[in-house]
Amino acid sequence: MRIRRFTTALTNGTLALGLLAVAACTAANPDAPADAPVADAPGDPGASTSITTTGATTSSVPADTGVTTAGASADASAAPAPASSGGLLATVRQRGRLNCGVQDKLPGFGYLDPSGEYKGFDVDFCRAIAAAVLGDATAVDFKPLTAQQRFTALQTGEVDVLVRNTTFTLARDTQNGLDFSPTTFYDGQGMMVRADLNVDSLAGLDGANICVGSGTTTEKNLGDAMRKAGAAFTPVVLEDTDQVFSAYDGGRCDAVTSDKSQLASRQTTLADPTAHVILDLTLSKEPLGPAVLQGDAQWADVVNWVVYGVIAAEEFGITSRNVDTFLTSEDPEIRRLLGVEDALGEGLGLTNDFMVGVIRAVGNYAEIYDRNLGPDTPFKLPRGANRLWTEGGLLYSPPFR
């Protein structure tokens, strides 16, 4: 009996301690409600209930995760293929935050900076979509996803859009029930070799050891390409990217294969970057772009036209700095892009000037590219195929009209 009383007192005491601390921090917060339950905390049997009720009534804090307070998106997952205007766009609006599935471990494309902010090429497209839909480029909850998780996260409604260097392929378009947006980055598998080997083709790598990451299509593509070139080789298969390039740098392989964007960024970290060359050939096509769940045409259109919008902005020379001067432009296509005339935005379910907000927040395609991958970054990645069609690249936006 004595023991039971003691243990009850003990649990109550511990709860009270926790509650007191919470109450203290609530009080420390300037915009906290004034009814913090300090007075009735110690030893009160109602202490534990007041914790739960307080938590429940105020859990609609804007910065909350989409998972716990996902009441708003419940309808979206209950009907996985919302067809009309009641779809994801309305859900995201209602929630006030965009859930964006990203990669958090890919240099240049998605990573955490020391202050805890997500940065990168893919991350900027998340911000662009948030700017278009919510008018606030910071209203994004980034969900770092592993390669295995990414499609499930989209299918279950855990994320609204996936911008996680995902290659657009037929099987993914059909079997995984995705819809791909226009490609934001044309990547391709390449090959880096030691410069002193004087190799300029795959055939020249006959008998070589080639470092490659395991379990990826990269490994399969390498086998296919080398067979086509009629060159025998020994694959040195390693688990992760760090190991692959560490082994290559340590001399275990004559060559290393990976996506060209990665080869370029990793070359800068090798002991002597000038002792290696990236061969001028492409083993596979890897068009990377955002993906949304199939069946919500309106939401897919929104994502598509945000991507087209930043490409069009580069074509017209509109940047985050000079966008305001274009608002008075006489060019009809620029006027339509920025929503000065016609009502193109409304057709998407957005405001007519949605692209103004996007360009102010993240800039045009060139600005996004240069900020994350361009000459001022350690990667110094040449634009290559990612130039505008007017400059010999593949980026081409359908007209805004």
């Binding site: 023991i3 243990t7 003990l10 649990t11 005491g13 511990t14 709860l15 301690l17 926790g18 509650l19 601390a21 919470v22 921090c25 609530t26 917060n29 915009d31 409600p33 914790i51 307080t54 938590g55 105020t58 804090v61 909350d64 995760t65 998972v67 716990t68 996902a70 009441g71 998106s73 419940a74 979206a76 997952s77 958090d104 471990k105 240099p107 240049g108 990573y111 955490l112 900076d113 020391p114 202050s115 805890g116 909850d141 969900k143 770092p144 996803l145 592993t146 295995q148 998780q149 499930t152 996260a153 299918q155 279950t156 409604g157 855990e158 760090d242 390039f245 560490s246 960024s265 800068t268």
Partner: protein
């Protein structure tokens, strides 16, 4: 002198033994010569620790707001104090201390969790939790929950009621038959598909659930070993005193059984602490995840050796700390038993 010793060795073991010793010594010296200087050179000259120093915030708090950093600090102090008190309590009173110790730990862990998450407008969403903070939360919560759960399962396995017994056996054996990574994969991929959106628990809770379930099954088997080690005479004596089944277990059997298996359980908890690194499958970024993540910042590209070494040192310190707690549990237990024996005479 040296020759005299060598001569003595040759006389005792034969010349081949001396030669083998000499060869081994030279080999060991060479090994040290080849590995240690390059390692030291790397540590002092080549290594660039800015990947760690610039990212200390991420390593410790991840994206938990720095202005609320006192909350994890207070929670840590609370948990440490509770563990310290539990150790003292376990030493001070032999009987019934088990149940009370468990309540201390459980209470501290739950209070810490509430404190960290916050209430009302002070809520820090769990997607901001990470780094060392998340490692400690996952380990502490899973330890705090799996200990009582494990004890219940162990007792359930010895229950006379077939339903309770078979449920416990099934739970223990099913979980022990699965690798932790499988359980976490299920938590990551199956739970979201199976549950409606509104019911879907946060990833952190999913991880805690998986880790607790896994650890409890192993704790249950450890405790069962302890229960088996308690002599039949203790049961008879307790019954002769007129104790019921619950009182008998709480006052007589469990205190002895648990004390006997403290090293085994702590070993399990050390394994659990290290296993928390597997939650990266769920997309969570705990200590190891931060080490893997920060090397992708453009300015720290390729500095994975430094980041991983730092994480290894932190894990080492944490696991060493846990071992020390376990040792002090054992020492105090021994002391108190000896003290009481003296008192009685």
């Amino acid at each position: 002198m040296m020759t005299a010793r060598a001569y003595a060795i040759v006389r005792r073991h034969g010349a081949w033994w001396l030669a083998a010793q000499a060869a081994l010594t030279i080999l060991a010296a060479l090994l040290v010569w080849w590995t240690v200087p390059p390692l030291l050179r790397w540590l002092w000259w080549t290594a660039d620790w800015s990947v760690v120093t610039a990212n200390l915030r991420l390593f410790i708090l991840f994206r938990y707001p720095t202005e609320a950093a006192w909350r994890p600090a207070l929670a840590l102090a609370m948990t440490v104090a509770a563990v310290g008190l539990a150790v003292r309590r376990a030493a001070a009173r032999q009987s019934a201390s088990g149940a009370r110790t468990l309540l201390w730990l459980l209470g501290a862990v739950l209070a810490s969790f509430v404190l960290l998450r916050g209430v009302g407008s002070s809520v820090v969403p769990m997607n901001l939790w990470g780094g060392l903070l998340l490692t400690l939360i996952l380990a502490a919560t899973a330890i705090g929950l799996s200990l009582p759960l494990g004890i219940v399962l162990a007792l359930g396995r010895r229950s006379a009621l077939p339903l309770v017994r078979w449920t416990s056996v099934a739970a223990i054996e099913c979980v022990r038959g699965l690798p932790l990574i499988t359980i976490l994969f299920m938590a990551s991929l199956v739970v979201p598909l199976a549950l409606p959106d509104a019911w879907r628990p946060d990833t952190v809770l999913r991880a805690i659930f998986g880790l607790t379930l896994f650890s409890a099954a192993y704790v249950a088997e450890d405790v069962r070993g302890g229960l088996n080690a308690v002599g039949a005479g203790q049961y008879d004596a307790a019954r002769a005193l007129g104790l019921g089944s619950v009182a008998m277990h709480r006052l007589v059997i469990l205190p002895q059984a648990l004390r006997a298996v403290v090293p085994a359980i702590v070993g399990q908890f050390i394994a659990l602490l290290k296993d928390t690194s597997l939650v990266l499958i769920l997309g969570l970024t705990e200590l190891f995840g931060v080490a893997r993540s920060v090397v992708n910042q453009p300015e720290h590209l390729g500095r994975f050796r430094e980041a991983l070494l730092f994480a290894a040192v932190v894990y080492f310190v944490l696991c060493g700390g846990l071992s020390r707690v376990s040792r002090s549990f054992e020492m105090r237990g021994r002391e108190s038993r000896r003290g009481r024996a003296v008192e009685r005479t």
